[in-house]
């Protein structure tokens, strides 16, 4: 059985330390936003989680295309790993967004393009996992997963555009609550630094977790192979 790579251990520890550091920056280093108050601090991790959630879907699509071209199981494991991690980060993104929206927009939820798109992405992640669960043959499961990841990936930006276009042309909505407008703020240099640092830290954490999940997938395969050797 393969041993845990050193780089991964280093990545684990850097994730933890960087995360603590980022938390400190969010609460101490970054100034309190004058209008929005302390709740604005959610914003740093909120965007960072959303970023990882979206990039993970992108990674899954690259893995999907690679799988369909090569039929190499490695790509299937990578695809599944990034979908699962992406699901978690998108969920954090949605929940933290709702926490922010409650005091700022005075509601947990609005049907703004960004929110709807995030929800659709989450649903596509879940549908992907359900699809895999329903299929016994591992090769077929991998192929279907890859095809669905590609289809789902395309529909996410399309959703965003179709909602945006509608919002901007629809006569009754124009001029009313625009998502960007209400609760917008200008970032001071310290805020900007905190923001980009959070993005960086979450990216590291995302890579770390996906790596762990890939390793888990490989170990699963290994166990399966050993089981078959024993039975054969």
């Amino acid at each position: 059985m393969e041993t845990k790579p050193r780089l991964l251990t280093i990545l684990d520890w850097s994730s933890i330390i960087l995360f603590l550091f980022a938390t400190g920056m969010v609460f101490i280093y970054a100034p309190m936003e004058a209008v929005l108050g302390n709740v604005q601090r959610v914003f740093y991790f909120h965007v960072a989680a959303g970023w990882v959630g979206m990039v993970a879907l992108g990674v899954a699509v690259v893995a999907a295309i690679a799988y369909l071209r090569t039929s190499d199981r490695k790509w299937d494991i990578i695809g599944l790993a990034s979908i699962e991690i992406g699901l978690v980060f998108s969920f954090i993104n949605i929940i933290s967004g709702a926490i922010w929206a409650r005091p700022i927009w005075n509601t947990w939820w609005t049907w703004d393009p960004r929110l709807v798109t995030a929800t659709i992405m989450e649903l596509i992640y879940l549908a992907y996992l359900m699809l895999r669960q329903g299929i016994e043959d591992p090769d077929r499961r991998a192929r279907f997963g890859a095809v669905y990841a590609i289809v789902g990936f395309l529909s996410v930006p399309l959703s965003f555009f179709s909602i945006r276009i509608w919002r901007t042309i629809h006569p009754t909505v124009v001029g009313s609550s625009d998502a960007g407008a209400e609760g917008a703020f200008d970032m001071t240099p310290r805020m900007l630094q905190t923001f980009f640092f959070s993005l960086f830290v979450f990216t590291i954490i995302g890579i770390d977790l996906i790596w762990h999940r890939i390793r888990l997938g490989r170990l699963e395969d290994d166990v399966e192979q050993r089981k078959m050797q024993v039975m054969a």
């Binding site: 199981r73 043959d137 591992p138 090769d139 395969d221 399966e224 192979q225 078959m228």
Partner: protein, 240 residues
């Protein structure tokens, strides 16, 4: 006619075929026999281009799978224990559809011939849904030869047929195979295989474990040959 070299097929991590070699000359009728789970159906699905080989070479009628699959398919007739027919279409309509999918010329005449061959001329306008299992299987034979294929692949064609239907299927199969067609049939019914085939290949644990010509096997000797091969392959205790 059929040439298979070092064929490997795996599903996920599980190997079903492990470097199988197989060759069939034109006009041979090969019965593939073997225990359940030996990979017979998988092998036939690969020959019929429904399943891709994981590794190895597969040539049929001079074309290579999977790259020249379309060319191979036009030379192939496949009959399985499922009839692969549409229940809501009549016998004639089913044959018309499959004839079109093979671009059979002069289709109407051909359908008449095929229906005659499988003895369903009288019921050609009836829905397949109303057919008995045996009649469906006979029509399925018609479907598999509508385009006059050079190679016939039969996967357990007798499953689920009663005595009458089986012997009728025998007659039809003999007629279909009499004219120089190359046939590969999987079966676990040794008596049936002994009756029809010109060669017996035993598929066990993903490879062809033994092969014998019909002429070399004494009458009623097939079972002994089969037992002997399987016993060499596996622990005697495992054979039931």
């Amino acid at each position: 006619m059929i040439e298979v070299r070092k064929l490997i097929k795996r599903f996920g991590l599980k190997y079903v075929l492990r470097g199988l070699d197989f060759e069939v000359e034109q006009g041979e009728f090969v019965a593939l026999i073997g225990p359940n789970g030996a990979g017979k159906t998988t092998f036939l699905r690969i020959l019929s281009s429904l399943s891709r080989p994981s590794m190895g070479e597969v040539m049929l009628a001079g074309y290579r799978l999977p790259h020249q699959a379309a060319a191979v398919r036009s030379q192939l007739g496949v009959l399985s224990h499922q009839p692969l027919l549409y229940g809501d279409l009549s016998a004639e309509e089913n044959l018309t559809f499959f004839g079109r999918m093979y671009a059979v010329s002069d289709l109407e005449t051909r359908i008449g011939e095929v229906l005659e061959l499988v003895g369903l001329k009288k019921r050609r306008r009836d829905l397949v849904r109303t057919f008995s299992r045996g009649m469906q299987q006979r029509l399925a034979i018609g479907r598999s030869v509508i385009h006059d294929p050079q190679i016939l692949l039969l996967d357990e064609p007798y499953t689920g047929l009663d005595q009458d239907a089986s012997s009728m299927l025998d007659d039809v199969l003999k007629a279909v195979t009499a004219e120089g067609r190359t046939v590969v049939m999987t079966s676990h019914d040794l008596a049936r295989a002994a009756d029809l085939a010109s060669r017996f290949d035993i598929l066990s644990r993903g490879v062809i474990a033994a092969s014998a010509l019909h002429a070399d096997i004494p009458p009623d000797g097939l079972l002994a040959f089969y037992r002997r091969t399987i016993n060499q392959e596996e622990e005697p205790a495992l054979v039931s």
